[in-house]
Symmetry: D2
Subunit: 361 residues, 4 copies
């Protein structure tokens, strides 16, 4: 379905980086859900670039809700959210009109759209569109919170620096949702920032890993085949630009484990069934088991670099080099984390609405 995601609750994304606006349509949300514009603005602010470690492009992200909200609550009809583009400098991109940035979508967009794509600032491929995803996702996040479902993502790794993993899920998620730079171990923040500023100083960029936890999900969500919770969440995560890997629970670590290490023993406590460990990331056979859903996303280094790279001129077909001008991020890991939260919220709302019906949320 191209630029639409979700079966019961869906989001449709539109816009280009240097067009008049970007936006999203969120459909299928139950009527009567509170829409708190201040909360949406807060979520958007988490995604916005800040300080020396980010792009100099500053977008106010002054969103407007065009439809689907009446008297501060959802009506049950499609919610269109528009975010105007204001701080565009298309001139910066003229050098890249034909010199395809390595590992960026410039060349593949040309192959797919035969040269008709809006190439300015990455066009429809721009990470800027995730602002619209976040605005839509914020509505889903607060709907889930009202049902006791919490989502939190931390920067598990940037370059060579690693954060600690989740320990106390409740407290950790609460902490993350107060932070702009989402690290669980406060001591790691500076080292991570140093990785970013060092990369930037060298005209380079750096990648990382995000780790997400979801608590409060009922057991029994997901399908045994195809629409497994892992399948749906990974489908959603790989929609986020720069994400190149998704693993649940112990993930790739399971490849060198024995079953006796990897299995999560069940135990009963006060009439509830839980597992002693959570190497499965809260999902057995594609279906939630009531434990926290935990997954990690690998985020590649931003491809646009100030330093010179080899590439091809798409117009002449000749080999050339490119040292990108323009404003770009040396690292997007810290900005991507709220996008991961929002896409997770949209996906879970979709799964919950499918299972329990439209009005459940």
């Amino acid at each position: 379905m191209k630029n639409t995601f979700g079966n019961h609750i869906s989001v449709t994304l539109f816009g280009e980086s240097h067009g008049s606006a970007i936006g999203a349509v969120l459909d299928g949300i139950a009527p009567g859900i509170d829409v708190n514009e201040a909360f949406i603005a807060e979520i958007l602010s988490r995604r916005r670039p800040v300080g020396a470690i980010s792009t100099a492009r500053q977008e106010a992200d002054n969103f407007s809700i065009v439809s689907g909200v009446f008297n501060g609550k959802t009506t049950g009809t499609p919610i269109c959210i528009l975010i105007p583009n204001t701080d565009t400098r298309s001139g910066d991109y003229s050098q890249m009109r034909y010199a395809a940035r390595p590992s960026h979508a410039d060349y593949t967009a040309q192959c797919k759209y035969h040269g008709f794509q809006d190439y300015r600032g990455g066009g429809h491929f721009s990470g800027r569109l995730t602002a619209a995803l976040c605005a839509a996702g914020a509505i889903c996040l607060s709907a889930l919170q009202a049902k006791g479902i919490q989502i939190g993502t931390h920067i598990h790794q940037i370059g060579a620096v690693c954060d600690r993993t989740f320990e106390d899920f409740s407290a950790d998620i609460a902490k993350l949702n107060r932070l702009d730079f989402a690290v669980l171990d406060d001591n790691k923040k500076e080292a991570m920032l140093a990785e970013i500023t060092s990369a930037k100083a060298e005209g380079d960029s750096v990648g990382g890993i995000l780790e997400t936890a979801v608590t409060g999900l009922p057991a029994g969500l997901g399908e045994p085949w195809f629409d497994t919770v892992e399948g749906l969440l990974s489908h959603a995560m790989f929609s986020i630009p720069a994400i190149k890997g998704v693993e649940f629970g112990a993930g790739f670590g399971l490849g060198s484990m024995r079953g006796s290490q990897a299995n999560d023993p069940f135990y009963a406590e006060n009439g509830e069934i839980k597992t002693k460990t959570n190497h499965a990331g809260g999902i057995n056979g594609g279906i939630t088991n009531g434990m926290p859903v935990v997954f990690r996303c690998a985020v590649r280094p931003t491809p646009t670099l100030a330093r010179e790279q080899e590439t091809v001129n798409l117009q002449t077909g000749e080999n050339t080099t490119l040292a990108a001008k323009g404003r770009h991020d040396p690292c997007i890991v810290h900005r991507a984390r709220i996008v991961v939260d929002c896409m997770t919220a949209i996906t879970l709302c979709d799964i919950l609405a499918g299972r329990y019906g439209v009005d459940w949320l």
Copy 2:
């Protein structure tokens, strides 16, 4: 869409491990494609357990094509393939009727289906259903081969033993498609088998990692958002039981890389645009760039163990232990590789039919 996957070409999966038959309906395939029953049988044989390292359950996998094939060619209408279940011993599972196997779907099936699920042999969750996926996938595999698109998967890792990675894609894929135990470095086969037999001897199981390459795909496939090639393939891969991680190109390794290392420089050669490295796994911005698509899947150790594990009796709600009887695999990595190939083929046929129309294949 629950047990159906795909937008243009779709597969619908049905059946239970100990029911009369399992099967799949493959829809959307162009008319006039050769259906070679011997090739389907060969693909199924790759999935079948062999020797000491596998379950003792031996299914002949005598599939029958119920519809959609006429005079040896596809008609363009839905292809239903049935595979009868013959070697079932439901008695083996009576002990597990209520003692949920840790990390298996026994408990989550109970949560989802409220006790109405067919619990025998894992029911609808059984890996046995992948035989039907393989039968459907075999038709897609041969359709792709006829268009010059080759798919091959090798056992990248079992336990502590690692295979080499792809070097010469053409030769490596051709080699893999001749092997029952798909290892590129012949010297690693014995060590891998030893990992499995050692796990088995201890009543245990072992996990691994599969690596897949696809060559011959045109550049320009996939969508910028949501239906990225990574999103669609990962959605498909996580449908395969036991897969807990999917990464493309350098994947999680990108988390500690600089952009200057991770980026794949473009170069032009004989009018073709290629990349010098392939850390992006053939996909930029969600869209194929014409280089081989490369990804890895983490396969968890089989949860069913002969050794004793702690668990809960779902009927009484009391803590108990379980040492599984019955016939089960100490490792499914080597069997899962053909399932990965087949789900990859189905997914790619879907993408190609969407892009180029029904009759393209």
Copy 3:
């Protein structure tokens, strides 16, 4: 989605008239619903040809449930139902291999499938496949009945003979569900049969109109745009071979009415809101209003005729004539009514599961 219909509950249809079997996969049905094989057989018997007014092809319709039912109840996983083809005489169709029957799908199948279609007995286009729809629909019908939702269809017209319309919905629907030849006014049955036998005697066929009522549906089902109840039901009805028109409530009669005649005044009675008339057929703005849903389907005369017709030889491209041999129905209106009931049931289950969740039924 080609041969699959439904978003939350879906049916996938496969098979050819002269293949080994036809069948359907019904997915998304809640676990724990009673599956009464005798009821399915009864529904199938309603569709089966009887006596002088029908084709001589007699199929036992000995269905088998391959999956998704365990201990007499749905498991919640896909239900595959197979119906073998037994009484096939492909030889009858050899004359029509190239002489396309006027108004039948022979020519359009050729255009769509480029000659690879199974042409025997109409292949995948055969009305025979509606047997599989009925088997799947029977499960939906009984699930709806258990929730107090009743569906009934009568033969509103055959040729020049008209039945009365619905009066007492409850009693009328109950009566229809006991009849093989579903006419509300007993006096009209003979005249309708006479229309059919007269057509048959002349080597001809005759059309008709079916009228359907559904009671017990809650108000508030359906969507304001696209997935209106009318849109979904008509989509389903036009899937049934030979149906060429669908109208709701006063339908085409509304074209010559004034608003003051057409509008259905609301009134309150015992706390319930009802309408005094039902020209809207129970649907306002695409959404159910709690009154009976009423619609009519136009059924074209069967195209296959014993009398000579002009046509073209698809192989030579030359004009020719065709007087069809083989066994065919002079009228399918009376047989189509149960197919209408079943497709209505499938569609309503889909709508209800989307609104109230998987487990509602």
Copy 4:
């Protein structure tokens, strides 16, 4: 999929009658298609109320294309079109806040959205949203025209006055596309207008029937089951407010016909296969046969009347009466015809893109 329609090319509709704007997202359109804003404006002008026979609400319909168009051509990415609401008088609707208009969506919206719907001016149910459909449809219409596919709709009937049917499809469609009040027989226009003004004078409204023809479609489009051309087009047509019946070719007239009358004999002429008559409306077995596709839509009289009607107060639950103030149409048949053209165009683009691939158009 709620407010989204289409599998390959899709339209998503959002907005409320008295919100800040309405709009649509059209996705899946090939890159490189000319977007002529003047043509879109012309299509919108066909839908706009004119003169004494329409509502006094005058909307300029100053649409803006937010995304997906660059340098006058489609980019291949989603096209979002916004149309601001300017001439809103919400006060007119305060009397109807609780007095549900008979046969309007006021009551069913209440049932579906539990009172959270935007009730002003019909909210999301308003016919006003068809302006956004028309803007999206205009792009599809011109894409089809560039491929030689022509669509035209005439007012077949208003009240007691009937137009002639199609005779020379090419000339008739060309004529219709020049007219604001689309009647083929010029002599009938005045009588139709008289029907409307007479209804209006009596505080009443009047219904009608639209007839549509499509020429230039290739044979072989559509699916044998479910996604028949009739099923897809009727699904689309019933999305248009006020449409209560859809019939193809001879439609309901087939109910009293013999097969020998109804069948369309094939004949070959200059290597092309055609039919002598077109009672099937260009569709056999759900699939186009290359003849013009012809269908009719029944349009109910507008439910909002100036004259007094019986109804119920939704707040108090008491019986009451309502004589609607506000600006409303005494007839929407003449305005609905361009909406029918546009929804037809969107649906056909969807079918064509599915068959021939994204880039075909």
